[in-house]
């Protein structure tokens, strides 16, 4: 409410003043001096300025405010100050831009955990967002695990390298990514569905090598379109045991992948509408992400599938905090490898998430509602609704700029195509539902956003 009043007041005052004559003296820019940039190229800063020598600049020139915000938006500077000093002739001035550089190495992710199946996995994902001072983002990450206790499983290893071009005034951006991963996915061959015992699972070993090229375009201040083309080679080795022993019956295990070497190529497009007042700890606005991915049997691709994902979040200030409503829905049609399907660990906050598409755990969902969701790991359809309340704890103090305490509660459901087609069971078993929750702190620091939460801890250790 306060910010709204401020925004309305600024708008009203600005409009009233805008009707009058321009205020303050104007100067002819005789020179532009840039100071404090030990690393960032002067040319990059000058490009973002949007002001040139010879131009007339006013004391209350809105272009100056915009230039300052553009420079801050790069993320390379802690502070930017503009000032004018007298030029050589009356009416002339020298524009002085002083920048205070900041660290631009960012921690994107810390991969660390242990589970019944994998004694330890660890890794790190870093990015240098101003490589060589040229505004190029260069990042990479890795994850490595001990050998899982599932028979025939390989230790997991994944490496990724990413690069993205410098910011463009036109809003167009280019990026590329390479990935290598080797690991195992676990499929139940015996035991009850709520068992995480590694001995009840068999391992499908997969090796993936590929890359992606992407292009993004800012359609407006809050809307962005991103398109990506991707190719990878997949080598899958199926286990010797390919049937599940349910004591009473023996049924084949479905491995959603082509055995041996196969190729996957796809095109995807994402529309991102983001009106949040803050990307990390929002209290107003919302975000919608609509993604469609298609893999066609062209360009040597062995897979034919289409995948659509819709994600939406809306935030409302309530009391001293903010209420967030989050929705997710996804559907996949056709023949997609398992790592493209919806994974239970990505939906349930209480389970370990995947890293670079690698899963390290045999832990099923808790099945708190008794709907049989423990049977579901990878599915073609998934949905989740989550309610979250975040309460600001502190702002602008030391290393941690900001911190919020949050509590989240929700439910999710998963189903396979066969489940929906063959309706020989009650609906609650066809589309099983489970509950999920989280409680913790979200910390905003110079090197990244860190979440310290109950689910985070539970996801990293077996329980």
């Amino acid at each position: 409410m306060r910010a709204l009043i401020l925004a309305v007041a600024v708008l009203a005052a600005t409009r009233a003043v805008a009707q009058d004559e321009p205020f303050g003296p104007s100067y002819v820019l005789e020179a532009i001096e840039i100071r404090g940039n030990h690393k960032t190229e002067t040319g990059l800063i000058r490009r973002e300025l949007g002001l040139e020598v010879g131009e007339i600049v006013r004391a209350a020139d809105p272009r100056v405010d915009e230039a300052k915000l553009r420079l801050l938006s790069l993320g390379y500077f802690l502070n930017v100050n503009f000032s004018l000093s007298r030029g050589g002739q009356r009416g002339g001035a020298v524009l002085v831009v002083e920048v205070e550089e900041r660290g631009t190495v960012i921690i994107n992710a810390i991969h660390l955990g242990t589970s019944d199946a994998t004694a330890l996995w660890g890794g790190l994902d870093l990015a240098e967002t101003n490589f060589l001072g040229r505004g190029i983002s260069l990042g990479g990450g890795f994850v490595e695990s001990t050998r899982p206790k599932v028979a025939g499983a390989d230790p997991a290893r994944a490496l990724t390298v990413r690069a993205a071009g410098p910011p463009s005034v036109s809003g167009l951006s280019l990026g590329a990514q390479l990935l290598y991963s080797r690991g195992s996915e676990f499929f139940r061959a015996a035991g009850p569905s709520d068992s995480a015992a590694p001995g009840d699972f068999v391992a499908l070993r997969t090796r993936r090598v590929g890359g992606a090229l992407g292009v993004g375009l800012d359609l407006s201040a809050s809307t962005r379109l991103h398109a990506e083309g991707r190719y990878e080679a997949v080598d899958a080795k199926l286990p010797g045991i390919r049937s599940r022993d349910d004591q009473a019956t023996l049924r084949p295990i479905i491995f959603p992948i082509h055995e041996g070497v196969s190729h996957l190529s796809s095109l995807s497009a994402t529309l991102d509408i983001d009106t949040r007042n803050d990307p990390v700890l929002p209290s107003r606005g919302g975000r919608a992400l609509i993604t469609f991915q298609a893999s066609l049997p062209v360009a040597t691709s062995h897979y034919l599938f289409g995948k659509g994902v819709l994600q939406g979040s809306r935030y409302f200030p309530i009391g001293k905090g903010a209420l967030g409503l989050h929705g997710f829905g996804g559907a996949l049609f056709g023949d997609a490898p398992y790592f493209e399907q919806f994974f239970v660990g990505d939906l349930n906050l209480l389970l370990p998430q995947r890293a670079y598409g690698l899963n390290f755990s045999t832990q099923p969902s808790r099945d708190l509602l008794g709907t049989g969701i423990a049977e579901h790991r990878y599915d073609a359809y998934a949905t989740r609704a989550l309610v979250e309340y975040a309460l600001p704890l502190w702002r602008r103090h030391g290393f941690v700029y900001r911190a919020d305490a949050f509590v989240a509660f929700g439910a999710f459901a998963m189903a396979s195509g066969d489940d929906l087609r063959v309706r020989d069971r009650p609906f609650r078993e066809v589309v099983p539902v489970d509950l999920t929750a989280d409680l913790g702190l979200r910390l905003d620091t110079p090197v990244g956003i860190f979440t310290v939460s109950v689910a985070n801890a539970l996801g990293r250790i077996p329980f």
């Binding site: 007041a9 000032s83 991103h226």
Partner: protein, 203 residues
């Protein structure tokens, strides 16, 4: 009963205005309006004073809300928008002040201190027409002053850029490709002063 004839400050036992400091504010009436006199000079610190001679505008937004005791809803609001600029060649300050929808008033100042006072001192500043206030009721004013404020839309846009600067892709197919960090300098304004007045009874 004719209202608004007398305005008196009173020490009234009221609900606690949690965490917001109380600043003694002068109340009066002028031209049929409730007016206040108070200063927000503490909005400026030493570096800000030095920056007044930068050649670029320094802006101050003061927002005043009249609130009836026991009710957080504002019964009247008023704003003052001030801009201070320094002429490098004439070596003088110019201050433009806009109250609500009124025509802006431009004043000159010889020193930074004088310019600052013009921008931060509210003297007999009209807050609400007296006939609209209830006799015998207790009111306070909430005052908030911002130094170089930014609109919420602009702040949100900058923060989103910081989370996903141009030149980077959104969440990639192999996992998160988003580097999150937020520049602490990008706030609603560079500095804020906020306080409430002592209670006042309208007679």
């Amino acid at each position: 009963m004719k209202r608004g004839a007398v305005i008196a400050s009173a020490l009234v036992a009221t609900t606690v205005w949690a965490a917001t400091p109380v600043r003694t504010t002068g109340f009066g009436q002028r031209g049929g309006a409730l007016v206040i006199s108070v200063g927000v000079q503490d909005l400026f610190q030493a570096p800000d004073l030095e920056r007044l001679t930068s050649g670029f505008a320094t802006r101050v937004l003061v927002h005043v809300a009249l609130v009836r005791e026991g009710n957080n809803q504002a019964v009247a609001e008023a704003t003052r928008w001030s801009e201070i600029v320094y002429d490098l060649w004439d070596e003088r300050f110019h201050v433009r002040r806009t109250d609500g929808a009124a025509v802006p008033e431009v004043r000159d100042a010889a020193t930074a201190q004088e310019a600052l006072t013009l921008a931060t001192a509210l003297v007999a500043f009209p807050v609400a027409p007296l006939p609209g206030l209830q006799a015998g009721a207790v009111y306070r004013v909430n005052v908030r002053a911002d130094l170089n404020p930014l609109s919420e839309e602009l702040v949100g846009r900058v923060r989103r850029w910081l989370a996903r600067p141009a030149g980077r892709t959104p969440d990639g197919v192999f996992g998160s490709f988003v580097s999150f960090f937020v520049n602490p300098k990008v706030q609603d304004s560079e500095r804020r002063v906020q306080f409430v007045s002592q209670p006042v009874v309208v007679r």
